[in-house]
């Protein structure tokens, strides 16, 4: 659960917060592609440093670190696997860093982009408003559902349910009293939400207007341009196997 904290939006006024989600997405995607394509320690360190700078600008270093804590088991697994396969610490460091860089691209994007803006950007990119709205609402209700799991778990513990005890099969069965009530409550909740939406005329007109729309500022265009160049560059270098020092040599 703690790992998920590193992907949950936190409000802020920083440059990265105010940047357009579409630009941010392109950049984040570019970083991810570069980390996948070029497995070289120095290069990855460079991207890693840039991402730290982005996170620092957004003041979300703490949240990101928390997510890293949750990912430590996986990181150790990767290091161990690499050591077994290649007997090289450099290799282990490289692959584990690559994992961190890739998850961090998702992390800084989600930490600095409000789900409302995410939904809005999907809509402005052309997705039907129903779908983008469903997407935003799902994100908005995730903390509510997770709180519900906690409440139900508490209630069942107070009825003597002990998840830690018993055989594997017994333990799996013990999740039923937790999952069923949450499931039923969620379905019930959707009826109430649907009512509230209808009463605000959802579906009245085929196309909704928006109070706040996303406008690309010059800095957003700049970021998008850089991202596209990076992506094109990555694809070229990768496809044509061009070797460039620092990046893939």
């Amino acid at each position: 659960m703690m790992a998920l904290e590193g992907f949950r939006f936190r409000r802020g006024e920083s440059f990265i917060h105010r940047s357009d989600p579409r630009a941010k997405f392109l950049l984040s995607f570019a970083f991810m592609m570069m980390a996948i394509a070029f497995v070289k320690l120095e290069f990855l360190l460079l991207i890693f440093t840039i991402q730290i700078a982005i996170l620092a600008n957004g003041r979300c270093l703490k949240d990101w670190l928390r997510s890293l804590k949750g990912l430590i088991p996986l990181i150790i697994l990767i290091i161990a696997a690499q050591l077994l396969v290649s007997w090289s610490w450099v290799s282990a460091a490289t692959y584990s860093l690559r994992f961190v860089v890739i998850t961090s691209t998702m992390s800084w994007f989600l930490l600095t982009t409000s789900p409302d803006d995410l939904g809005l950007s999907l809509e402005q990119v052309g997705l039907p408003s129903d779908i983008s709205f469903a997407f935003t609402m799902a994100i908005r209700f995730v903390p509510v559902i997770s709180q519900e799991f906690q409440s139900v778990y508490d209630a069942q513990r107070s009825r003597g349910l002990e998840l830690e005890k018993g055989s594997f099969i017994q333990r799996i069965r013990k999740y039923v009293p937790i999952i069923v009530p949450v499931f039923i409550e969620t379905i019930r909740r959707t009826y109430e939400i649907a009512d509230a939406m209808e009463v605000r005329a959802f579906g009245a007109k085929p196309k909704r207007t928006r109070l706040n729309t996303l406008i690309m500022r010059p800095s957003d265009w700049a970021i998008s341009l850089i991202a596209v160049l990076l992506l094109v560059g990555t694809v070229c270098l990768y496809l044509f196997n061009i070797k460039v020092p620092l990046i893939n040599v």
């Binding site: 209630a155 513990r157 003597g160 002990e162 009293p177 009530p181 039923i184």
Partner: protein, 271 residues
């Protein structure tokens, strides 16, 4: 018989918010206590500490003089049963009797069938034995939730907001129900906003405000102290400000309800 004690308890949630700041109180066997205060004052946190779901950040919670840090939630729940605010949030079984049997099975009882029968009778839910818990009305679900806990006969019952969504006749039913339980020697602790219900059911009131105990004593003394009630964002029973306007200074528990007030007025009018 069970004794619940909080000793200088502090509790902070992860984000650094102090929910409870140095709360100390002791609840003896057989008491009927109402814990009250505005939303966010720390009431739910306190009872979760009482049944071990939460452990204090500082200080101790003692159940029969044993710290809750040293016993499991299951062990505590066996003695101190808790009924949550939204009972429908914990129903999952196909039938009402299965629902009641769940707790009994968890605690390892052998005479499950007998206890289920007794619980159904106590809550007047026999005709729903084989029905789905989801088919019950709001009031019946509340009774079922209490019955599932009473089935394993804990020594104390902690109930979070028993009267939300209940109408007057359901509340009267519930108040009688709780007084019945108390007369069997059980401790009853309720969190409630409903001052009239608290006056009907309890003899002691503990007021929490912003994580601190601001009042603890006989319910008639607490409820007739209008300044204290206001400081805890509570409204006293309607009768209280009325009687105060008419000059009443000392309140007995009876004066929190209309029957006594009526007698008092009739007597005074005769003079």
């Amino acid at each position: 018989m069970v004794e619940i004690e909080a000793k200088d308890v502090w509790y902070s949630y992860r984000h650094g918010i102090d929910a409870l700041r140095g709360v100390s109180l002791k609840i003896e066997s057989g008491e009927r206590v109402a814990i009250m205060g505005e939303n966010g004052a720390g009431k739910t946190t306190l009872i979760k500490l009482f049944n071990g779901l939460l452990k204090p950040t500082k200080g101790e919670v003692l159940i029969d003089k044993i710290s809750t840090r040293n016993i499991s939630v299951a062990q505590i729940s066996r003695k101190v049963g808790m009924v949550f605010q939204k009972p429908e949030n914990q129903f999952f079984a196909e039938t009402v009797e299965e629902e009641i049997a769940f707790g009994l099975r968890n605690f390892g009882f052998k005479d499950i069938s007998k206890r289920v029968d007794e619980a159904l009778a106590f809550a007047s839910l026999e005709r729903y034995r084989g029905k789905s818990p989801f088919s019950l009305s709001g009031g019946e679900k509340k009774r079922l939730a209490i019955a599932t806990v009473m089935a394993w006969e804990p020594d104390a019952l902690l109930i979070d907001e028993p009267t939300i969504g209940q109408d007057l006749s359901q509340k009267v039913h519930l108040a009688t129900f709780l007084r019945d339980i108390s007369s069997r020697g059980k401790t009853v602790v309720i969190i409630t906003h409903d001052v009239d219900f608290a006056a009907e059911t309890c003899e002691r009131a503990v007021l929490l405000s912003k994580g601190v105990v601001v009042g603890d004593g006989k319910i008639e003394q607490i409820f007739s102290n209008l300044e204290l009630m206001e400081s805890a964002s509570l409204l006293p029973p309607m009768i209280v400000p009325l009687l105060r306007r008419l000059g009443v200074k000392e309140f007995t528990k009876g004066l929190l309800g209309i029957d006594e007030a009526e007698k008092l007025i009739v007597q005074a009018a005769k003079r």
